[in-house]
Symmetry: C2
């Protein structure tokens, strides 16, 4: 069994990007610029955005943070989004979710220029991904694709079972893995809460992507010998032996499943560390006009 | 075994729409208007467009046909698309494919206002469909969903195997059937040319959607007793006993497969007749602003 070390891979990707940025600086070229819009003071959102800005600093990107209070109007927020769309210095930007209830997330999302939508949530990017055109892919799926690629995990003709059909993980993973390409060309089954014979289907899987948000859902007797298991779950469960009082739990019962696997991602330290790095990858792609001309 | 009669269903849908249009006329309201842009004189395209216009007449829609010769420039065509986007009388329009090689189909497609994209090919509509927002769904997948609904075929928790991953059939079918809803909520497996154990997977299917364009590909020994089989194949094969010299062949070896099925679509007369009707459904939805406000 080999552990897929997302922390290490993330570090490597960031070092590669930092080297590329250093060259840009040497050549006197424009430095990639990621901006984040943060509304309110939710603890989770604060720490995500802080992590994104730290990652920018680490690779040498320019970053900016635009803050609004919770009582910002939808119109004000949308005007700021339009301003960012038109700011030639900004290569990509994100609006940190969730937003206060009086603001339509769909409306804000659809206002973002798809060419700067490094979160990959705009319908144009989802649509382009679905039909196999160049597109910004959202953070978690892109991180998983990067891990599969760097660990040279062969997906062609393999049976991949995706548990979960969310718009941010399950759905894009099922599309990407079944498309032509490498990683890709897999036979993909999408399972979810309505699936009748989940255990039977999982037992056929060469690759399992568990993305349901149910701690320890995938047990040892659901996984065949030699399978690759990617655990996307990150549920906070109460813990008495941590300073925070909680601990991250994956969707996979690691101790039971790991001995049967050829490859497995741990939680924490597997998929998680790749997500912010994916945003950095997308910002670089935007700066280099790799997706849109 | 029950035959799914697409010809009959299509007729019923058109009659329902005709009744709705008649009411609009009575009330003095605007009549839905579908426009088609046709470039060149390809025989297949001519006959598809003619069928679309006939369908408009049948239900009482207004229709218009804009023709260009093969040597139209990309710019001229795109200007016409923009004109249609801005024509308040046009509820929906299509640009008949294929286009001559000197014109980018992607560029033309992306110029169409998604709110009038009744073919459902624009990335915005594909993206909205993928994330479960209201969207124009392309003709064949929408026709299949309508058949499943009208024949009250239960898809919830069923294992549905989609053979083929094309952007116009396989991909959208796999997304729609695995989404929440009815029809929907199925466990969906996407198979394609790289799939290793296709027969084994098909034998598990409660519902098979065959969309590979390979005549007679699905054989009797690939289908379990009681399965629902939807045949999307329409390959022209040479025939000595028809006036045209050819005959339509589906992807399913009907004589072997039909006796095992609970429901099956014939070719011709199954999925095919529903495609143009889907376009009519979409045009009505556009006129009623059901997808976009």
């Amino acid at each position: 069994m080999q552990l897929i070390d997302g922390k290490q891979t993330s570090k490597e990707v960031r070092m590669e990007i930092a080297a590329e940025v250093a060259k840009l600086k040497e050549a006197g070229a424009k430095i990639p610029h990621l901006a984040a819009i943060l509304v309110g003071h939710d603890g989770g959102s604060e720490s995500y955005v802080a992590g994104k800005i730290r990652a920018c600093e680490e690779v040498g990107f320019k970053s900016s943070l635009i803050r609004f209070e919770d009582d910002v109007t939808e119109e004000e927020l949308i005007n700021k989004v339009k301003e960012m769309n038109n700011d030639a210095d900004v290569d990509g930007f994100i609006v940190q979710l969730p937003l206060p209830k009086h603001i339509s997330e769909d409306k804000v999302n659809e206002t973002i220029d798809p060419r700067k939508d490094v979160d990959g949530f705009h319908p144009v990017n989802v649509g382009r991904m679905t039909i196999g055109m160049p597109a910004f892919i959202s953070a978690t799926p892109q991180g998983i694709m990067e891990l599969l690629k760097r660990y040279q995990i062969d997906t062609k003709g393999k049976h991949c079972v995706v548990i979960g059909r969310s718009n941010i993980v399950g759905r894009p993973m099922s599309v990407l893995l079944s498309q032509k390409g490498n990683p890709g060309d897999a036979t993909v089954t999408v399972c979810h809460s309505r699936t009748a014979n989940l255990k039977e289907i999982c037992l056929q899987a060469d690759i399992i992507i568990a993305a349901i948000g149910s701690p320890g859902f995938v047990k040892g007797d659901m996984v065949k010998e030699g399978a690759v298991v990617i655990d996307v779950g990150t549920t906070r469960v109460p813990a008495t032996d941590t300073k925070s009082g909680w601990r991250l739990k994956g969707d996979v019962l690691f101790d039971e499943v790991a001995p049967k696997c050829s490859f497995i991602t741990p939680v924490p330290g597997g998929v998680g560390p790749m997500t912010i790095t994916s945003l950095i990858i997308n910002t670089l792609k935007s700066a280099k006009k790799e997706i849109y001309q």
